[in-house]
Structure formats: C-alpha cells, structure tokens
C-alpha cells in the first residue's frame, strides 16, 4: 500500500496533506507501507448510502497496519476485532481488505 510520509519528520498519512500536523512541513514523499494488518475496530452497516445498497450488509473496518498507520477500509466478509487482514486493492476509491 502507498502512503505519504513527511520528508522532514517522517509522519505518515494515508491521504495527502497540505501541512504535516506534527512539524508543519509541507513536503511529502510516497512510501510503501505494509499490506498486512489487523482489525482495530469495525462496524457492519445495515442501512447504507444509496450507492452501497447492493453490498449491504457490509463491513467498514479500521485496520491497524503493521506499520504505524491506521486506514479505513471495506470488507464484504464478517470480521472481528483482532482478525488478521490483507490489503487487496483500491476499488472505486475504497481500500479493500480480505481475511
């Protein structure tokens, strides 16, 4: 998985930022981070937004990657906190994970 890292202090973020919240630096580089992580928390969504009706019920997971980052992702299969999961792909803007 690609993340953004502050050139000055090493702060990492899934999303690009204008300013680093740690050191106010403004230069980021792309870095490779681990695709492996575990489910920090999740919810199973039964009442989805219109465009997700076809998936419901589905899981939105907050994954703690082996590196320091946490990322919000999508999973079709049921999960529990602590489950090991792997990043598969970015699909229509969503980070998709599998068990």
């Amino acid at each position: 998985m690609i993340a953004y890292q502050c050139i000055n202090c090493g702060f990492q973020s899934v999303t690009k930022k204008y300013y680093c919240p740690e050191c106010k630096g403004s230069k980021y580089e792309e870095v490779n981070v681990s695709d492996e992580g575990e489910v920090f928390s999740y919810t199973t969504i039964h009442i989805p937004p219109e465009e997700f009706t076809k998936y419901a019920p589905y899981q939105v997971v907050l994954v703690q990657l082996e590196d320091k980052l946490r990322v919000t992702g999508f999973m079709e299969v049921p999960v529990a906190i602590g489950d090991k999961v792997t990043f598969k792909e970015i699909r229509e803007g969503a980070y998709v994970f599998s068990k």
Partner: protein, 376 residues
C-alpha cells in the same frame, strides 16, 4: 462584560407534516421573545444545517427579522453540522460580549421528515469529509459511531446492554416531556432486539429524523440565568486520522476551555445536556467532559448516576435519542432545557439545580460547543 438568558422557546419535536420551516422557526422565536418580555432585538443568529440542500430555503435570519418586524437589523446563519445550533448561540453571545449588540435572538430550526430516509442519510453524509477513501469505503455517519462502539465494548467490560440503558433512560425522560418526539414507554428487551442500523448500534441507539425549532433571547442586561462560559473546538474529520479512537478531542477541548473560562470543574455541574446522537456518544462524551473516568462512563449509567435523581443527571429533556434531533435546532433546545432546569420549572426537574452545562457535537467529532449556565 456578562451575558444572560432572558427568554426561551421551543416547538414540538417530531413529524410535523402540516408545518413549514418558516412557521416553526417563527413560533419558537416569538415564544422566546415573549418569554423575554418583548425586548428590542439587535440581531438574529440562526442555526440550520440542511435547509438549503433539502428544503431549498436560505435567508432564514432575514425572514425572521422581516416577519417579526424587528427592523433592518443584521442577521446570519451558522452551519456546523449537528452543532449548527450551538455555534449560532455562541455567535450571538460573542456579538453581545464584543459590545456590538445589547440583545440578540438565536433560533435553531430543521425540517427533515418531508424526504425519504435515504435522502436524509445522503444529506447528513455532507457532515463527513467526502473527498476521502472513507466515503468510498461506504462509511456512514452512524457507521463511525458503530466502529467506536465496537472498540469500546472490546476494551471495557461494557456490553450492548449498557448502550440500551442510555437509550432507555433518555426515553423515560422524554415520556415526561410534552415536546419530545418519542413518548411511548419501551424496555431493555425491546431496545436490545430492535433491528440493527450499524452494528452494534440498533434503532434505539440512534437519534431519529425530526422536524422542530427552538429559540433563545440573550442580553447584556441581567436576568436570573447568567452565561458563565462559551467555548468551541474542532477535531478530526476522518476516523483513520483519530489518534485515539475512543476519544472525541473536540468535546474534551471544548469542555476544558469552558471549565477554565467559568472557573468551574465537572464536579460543580448539577445538570447536563450531552449531544447523544448515539447512545455510545453520550457515554464517551460524559468521560470527555470529566464527569467520569475514561472507559468508566458505562458504569455510571449502570449505577443510575446519569438519571434525573442521580449524582450527574444527563439529558433530562430526553436527549437527541428521544426528544428528537432536528439538526439545527438541537443545540438551541439544549439551552432551552438547561435554562428551564435553572429556573426550576423543567421536565424531570433536578432539585436545586444551579449550574448547568450543554454540549453540542457536529459531524463525527468535527465540532463541539460547550456552554455553562448559572442561576444567579
């Protein structure tokens, strides 16, 4: 300079099919102005979230000033998602504290029941950062609090029943509130068995879709209700950026600032309105505001401490969960309830209440306002 509350007004909250946004906000405003003894109003501040997107109506402040014959006074609207009402109240207050105005009207209003649930869901999702991978993962507004709740249940000994106890307490409070949306008695069993919205949050754990309005008149002139502190803070707009999932930094920071300004602490507060958009939110925010230790808010609920006769009564109005949650009106209606409590004529009156606190949350922790009121 000090500021005081002179009048409050509130319409019924619920499904108000035969009403318009205009007549709701005018009703609440007139009630507040009359309650204040019909003072000259120098400015109007409106709290509203989705009047533009789902009701095609803006210029709310100007409509109020014109319809009520207030003259060519300045008016404006504040938007801060579900904290729109609290922010409007704060802006009105700052207008007085700056010396610009003597007396202002603050009105919160929302119309939500005329559209479908999925249209409301979409409109409310405007309160998240939609240019992000979280939106594309299908995260919803309730979903954020579902993720929070699952982690809370994992890290503590709390269970879904503790969430249900919050919903039941607020329902029991609403039963005594003639203006509340839900006044039908319920039970732990019914709450626990209700259909799931976003696990582990079921129907009763989530605040409803509501029409309604509320209004307050504030002045630099003295009254029996003094505003001791106003504060506001912002927080993360994305779940994955939250440093500690089981915290809402905006609530903590707005609470800290308000206590500091008032020279008071959580132990001084007699009665509280907390933004219980979800049952989980009431527990976490009760911790963030210092009423209970971190990860122990659920124990206070279990022990009945947050009931009207408990040591820290929370949401004596019924809260968002059962009083209802007309988004822009909510923060103002919290001030309505705290004012009534300090005047001694509230529903679920807390004996001898002297200091009251209202906390209003916007987005998934994006905004929070805290106001501390005192009977003087």
């Amino acid at each position: 300079m000090n500021a005081y509350i002179h009048g409050v007004g509130m319409t019924e909250f619920g499904t108000l099919e035969d009403r318009t946004m205009k007549d709701l906000m005018l009703d609440a405003s007139v009630e507040a102005i009359k309650d204040a003894g019909d003072p000259k109003i120098d400015a109007v501040f409106v709290g509203n979230f989705m009047g533009g997107s789902v009701y095609n109506q803006e210029i709310l402040g100007s409509i109020i000033s014109n319809e009520l014959g207030l003259g060519y006074i300045p008016t404006s609207k504040s938007e801060g998602a579900c904290a729109s009402g609290g922010i409007a109240f704060r802006q009105g207050l700052l207008g007085i504290l700056s010396g610009e105005y003597d007396t202002v009207l603050v009105t919160g209003v929302e119309m939500m029941k005329h559209i479908s649930t999925s249209e409301v869901t979409s409109a409310i999702n405007a309160a998240m950062d939609n240019d992000s991978n979280e939106k594309y993962a299908g995260l919803t507004f309730p979903g954020f609090f579902g993720v929070l709740a699952n982690r809370y249940l994992y890290e503590t000994d709390a269970t879904k029943e503790h969430l249900a106890m919050v919903a039941l307490k607020n329902r029991n409070n609403a039963i005594n509130n003639p203006l509340a949306q839900f006044k039908k008695p319920t039970s732990i069993e019914e709450i626990m068995n209700a259909r799931m919205i976003t696990e582990p949050l079921g129907l009763f754990d989530c605040s409803p879709i509501t029409d309604g309005a509320s209004a307050v008149v504030i002045s630099k002139n003295e009254s029996q209700i003094k505003i001791r502190a106003t504060s506001q803070a912002s927080g993360p707009t994305q779940m994955q950026n939250s440093e500690e999932l089981l915290s809402i930094p905006a609530v903590h920071e707005s609470g800290r600032l308000a206590y500091e300004k008032a020279g008071l602490g959580p132990n001084d507060v007699d009665v509280v309105e907390i933004h219980d958009c979800f049952s989980m939110t009431e527990i976490i925010s009760s911790e963030e505001l210092g009423f209970f230790n971190k990860r122990e808010g659920y124990l206070a609920v279990e022990n009945g401490e947050t009931m009207p006769n408990g040591s820290k009564p929370i949401n004596t109005s019924g809260g968002l969960l059962s009083k209802g949650h007309p988004i822009g009106a909510t923060g103002v209606s919290q001030i309505y309830q705290i004012t009534k409590q300090l005047r001694g004529n509230a529903v679920n009156q807390v004996d001898g209440a002297r200091i009251g606190l209202a906390q209003n949350l916007g987005g998934t922790g994006s905004y929070s306002t805290v106001h501390i009121l005192e009977r003087v």
